[in-house]
């Protein structure tokens, strides 16, 4: 799925990474616990989270995650946007709650690989 399709499905606002809308994402995960992301995520892809602090961007960097979607209307700080921009990442935000946002992407075929 292309990043721009994610954007459309989640009715999301892009905070940084507008130039990367044609990038492909193959999988996604949703979590507010960065510890869990670091422990369990096997593939680089997209991260949905309700947590907003710079460590979300750092965690994504270590995991080779290129796209972060903030759910429940959470807005990333200028600091986070700058960190993401330097790392060539996409930050988006949606009003949807976590469950709905994950459901939309899953139903559209963004399914973790077996």
């Amino acid at each position: 799925m292309k990043v721009k399709e994610v954007k459309a499905l989640l009715d999301a606002v892009v905070e940084t990474g507008e130039a990367l809308m044609d990038m492909e994402v193959k999988t996604a995960c949703g979590s507010d616990m960065m510890s869990d992301v670091l422990a369990f995520v096997k593939e680089e892809g997209l991260l949905l989270t309700g947590l907003v602090n710079p460590q979300v961007v750092r965690t994504a960097e270590m995991m080779d995650i290129k796209v972060i979607v903030f759910v429940r209307g959470k807005v990333p700080s200028a600091e986070m946007i700058e960190l993401a921009e330097e790392r060539g990442m996409v930050l988006m935000r949606t009003q949807m709650p976590m469950y709905v946002a994950c459901g939309e992407l899953y139903a559209a075929g963004l399914v973790p690989r077996k």
């Binding site: 507010d32 616990m33 960065m34 510890s35 869990d36 670091l38 422990a39 947590l51 602090n53 710079p54 460590q55 979300v56 750092r58 965690t59 960097e61 270590m62 995991m63 080779d64 600091e79």
Partner: protein, 140 residues
């Protein structure tokens, strides 16, 4: 790479914005040196967990990284409170993290087990009241 590349970072214990910056720099260096992405990912995650631990549990410390073509060695030393029972601390889910650390998305008690999983060798030397040194080796 004929000679070992040595990097050293001071990890500030009171700066949660910069926590992880050292791991990010190591990741960048390894990428520039052309290491295998899977090796880089393992090294970056392991060091990041250790770096975060020094910030949330030990008020900062020092990270030394030694890069050879066949192995990456990461040594994290702090003068924090130390770990009374290292075996217990290594258990998945064991955590003494503060509410503040948890609110920031850490404190699942997965850091040390994760560091062990992502590295080929890990040793933890700790003394209560003196500090903790974690050494990790990733073979390339």
């Amino acid at each position: 790479m004929a000679e070992t590349i040595k990097l050293q970072f001071n990890i500030d214990g009171n700066n949660f914005v910069d926590a992880g910056a050292a791991s990010g720099k190591v990741k960048k260096t390894l990428t520039q040196l052309g290491f295998d992405p899977a090796v880089i990912r393992r090294a970056a995650i392991a060091m990041y967990e250790g770096e975060i631990n020094m910030v949330i549990h030990a008020d900062g410390g020092v990270a030394d990284v030694y890069i050879d073509s066949d192995k990456i060695r990461i040594v994290l030393s702090d003068k924090g409170p130390g770990i009374a029972d290292v075996e217990l601390a290594m258990k998945e889910g064991y955590s003494t993290a503060s509410q503040e650390a948890r609110d920031l998305g850490f404190g699942a008690g997965m850091g040390l087990p994760n560091m062990k999983n992502y590295t080929d060798e890990m040793t933890v030397n700790s003394k209560v009241g003196v500090g903790t040194t974690v050494e990790m080796i990733i073979n390339c």
